[in-house]
Amino acid sequence: MKKIEVSRRKFLQGSVSLCIYATSAMAVPLSTTKTSNKSATGVPYLCNMCRNKCAGFARVENGIVTKLDPNPYFPKSRNMLCPKGNAGVDSLYDKDRLKYPLIRIGNRGEGKYQRVTWDEAYEYIKDRLVEILDKQKDNRSTIAYCNGEGFNKDEYIKFFGEKIGSANFLDEGSICLNTKLGATLLTIGDVGEMDVAGSDFLMLLGANRFESLITPDSVDMARVQKEQKLVVVDPRATVTALKADEYLPINVGTDLALILSMSYIAIKENLYNMEFVKKQFKDFDKYKEHILKEKYTPQWAESKTAIPKEKIERLTKEFFSAERPLLYMGRRSVWAKNDFQLRRAMVLLNGLAGSINRKGGIVFGEPIKLPQEAINSPIYDNAEGRFDLDGVVYGSQKGGSWLNFREKVVTKTAPYEVKAMFIRKHNLMHNMPNVTKTKKMLEMMDLVVVLDSMPTDTAIMADVILPECTYLEREDMVVSFNRLEPSLALRNQVIKPLYESRSMQDILKGLGQKLSLPLFEISKKYDEELQDSIKELGEKKAFGEGGYDLAELYKRDISQRNRELITKKFGKDVYRTLKERGVWYPNMGKQHKEIFNGVYEYYPKEKRFYSVDRKYRVKCYLKKLEKNGFDPMPTWRDEYNFKVAKDSFRMITGRYVMFTQSATTNNKMLRDLEATNHIWINDKVAKSKNIKLGDLVEVKSSIGKVQIKAYPTNKIHPQVVWFAHGYNSTSESMTNSYGNGANDNEIIEDRFEKIYGCATMHHTDVTIRKI
């Protein structure tokens, strides 16, 4: 009989819930709406509490959303909703939501706004844009635009990129996962997908899949715990590490040394899959020679990583003798300056084990292809190209490099002036290192427009705030998901937009109608190609055929567009299934079945796309890197050594399971679970500094300082401190997150790696002082 100490959770539970939150904030309604005992309609929707997109059914009673339940039909989210997904109701009904269009009357960041009508807001934007574009002689790229939300990104790009004609689009990729995507793409020709469920030996580096939930990866990992060996490498004993079969503490930023050493052992002792390497690898001889010549021995790796050499040797042998080993590539992954090289070394190691295009490996799969709607876009003669990839070897042509962009703007070294920004659901004042610089960038703009549903720290930097509805109040264009078990999913509208908020498409439609002619007039003045075209065709035709009607795409509403697009390619039944169940995939009716207790099978094993017929090579050597002065093959450099300044700590960042960055810290339900963020500091170190649980400390780096409560613990490296990202709004209108905890990006120094232009996060040394 197992003895379990049973006691109701008190103040201090699990990680760090230190204060009772909701009882002290009486302004917050003290509960949510209880569901009734009567049946009600369930509307299939797709979650947007994070970037991941799970499927659910929303229960609507008397026009009120009372509950969100998981959708059993969606292969990706495996019939579950996480705590954030469950708390979506409280984001929908958050009393702090942006309700009306607003125009700034105070200083930027002060939060003083005047309520205006939609037309007044559009009119204001039009006047400013005409002024700016006239001054910039129709260089459309003076308008930068960015987006942080997963859905609608392409629609947003079509409007500002193709219709308005700016080259300067920025998204979260360069502060998130572009090195991982790029390393995979450049090494095996595709970004692929990791088959976590199919692996019998899973090794995680730089990923915390049980506290940073990604579907289906996190769900699969949780469900196959009994059948899979899980090894976690981390400078912090995360929940994922605590649940692992084996946990290896490591020095920050030295993962590459571990992977290189595993590669060394595999090659030296001929543990690798020779048949696969012979068939698929390109330049393996060069890689072999390089790895052996550099002598990445376990002893060497121990000196870099602090992982005992015996463990490295044993784990490498276990990894290569497993049937389907998988080295998990992470997601929000740009931690150290060598990140691209690390991700590449990881792809190559997976390749050495033959874990590519097979069960339990990196799979190519067979995504369902969706047709694209054609739009007629103008060509602007005076629109300049993007500049944020100057000095970056590859970079994402789509989402660019945030830190390089911002740097060039604030130091005025960009080839032209950027004077306007449209910011959609992208909290710039929180999401990238060095908040001071972001503030400076926004202050340099003549026009800042924010589309969001919450009065974020970025929203209060705007001239005009346009209230966008939440994901539960709109239909979005159908999306294709996944490769191994592919499906289509449709976000249906659960309720009509609350207050005066609008969907993004409706916002852009209004804006497009307002801007089309005035902006065309600017082009007429400066664009010689357009002037010729007018001479030839006449003004009306030049406007129409040239695609200058900016609202063209939104003439038909989303539901009409979805119906036409889906029906045309897949037929009426598929459309109906998507409306009724939110999800469709081939043979769904036959294949979809419950195995046990809410666990479903979507594709029988023999129908999953584990291995597809495709020609590809695993490229060991990248000439372009060499040409640009970088290592063509993953190589350790002395500058990567883990070294912390005297009396300092290396600051690392991450997440709590119940929050998605800054987007959810105002959610009253989630704040119940984790009231504030705390800084993790090694227990022995804390003792020597007389820092106790809950003590307020000042954390200082070269660029700033924050105050935060301490959480001494044995779960963190003695030279490292950690706290969760996303806390402490400066916007007073975010009543639950205002002044609560600390914002990591006020102290993380802004540096980016030069291969993908991605912000690195784990290089800042800080000092800590008890207050």
Partner: protein, 187 residues
């Protein structure tokens, strides 16, 4: 008529707390970090960072154990607590005067005070929400990523819970108290 119970494949839990939020949303539970019908018990590893004693950390899902012989029911001076037709321990809210005898009597610390209604509250297997709508699932069960919770009728030999209890070994909490709990933790 049923005899509802719940089994937990507790080792699979990753402490994401989706269950807690789903419960609060479904049942309109009072907000507050100490107000909850269910909670997850966590442990901390001991030792030094480089040599943590953690084995494989397990989390425990705790809530009302739905005793066949419920101490809370017997302790209530107002006879406010009763067992419904499905074997679930319920409360006549109008009869509760917050004597808190039930809170003290419960060996599992399952009850808390709802300060809106001035009653003691605890898990009732979604009896007046989901079960009342004819579902045989609980909010915590369906949302769980790892599908830790198995809910159903213990008297129905074909229910998933009956089958799993036949096939797998389990333990129960504080059986020495003689409460005959209907919650089962699978080994």
């Amino acid at each position: 008529m049923a005899r509802y119970g719940m089994a937990f494949d507790y080792k699979l839990c990753i402490n994401c707390r989706a269950c807690e939020v789903a419960c609060k949303e479904e049942n309109g539970i009072e907000l507050g970090a100490n107000k909850h019908r269910l909670w997850i018990e966590t442990k901390e590893p001991s030792g030094d960072f480089w040599n943590l004693n953690r084995e494989k950390m397990d989390f425990m899902q705790l809530q009302c154990q739905e005793c066949e012989d419920a101490p809370c029911l017997k302790a209530c001076p107002n006879h406010a607590i009763y067992q419904d037709k499905n074997g679930i321990i319920r409360l006549h809210e109008d009869k509760c005067d917050l004597s808190l005898d039930c809170v003290k009597a419960c060996p599992y610390d399952a009850r808390y005070v709802d300060t809106r209604k001035n009653i003691t509250d605890k898990c009732i297997f979604c009896a007046d929400t989901r079960l009342a709508r004819g579902l045989i699932t609980t909010a915590c069960q369906v949302t769980c990523p790892a599908k830790v919770r198995i809910f159903g009728d213990l008297d129905d030999a074909n229910s998933e819970i009956s089958r799993v209890l036949k096939e797998r070994e389990y333990f129960q909490l504080k059986v020495e108290e003689g409460t005959k709990p209907k919650l089962f933790y699978l080994k």
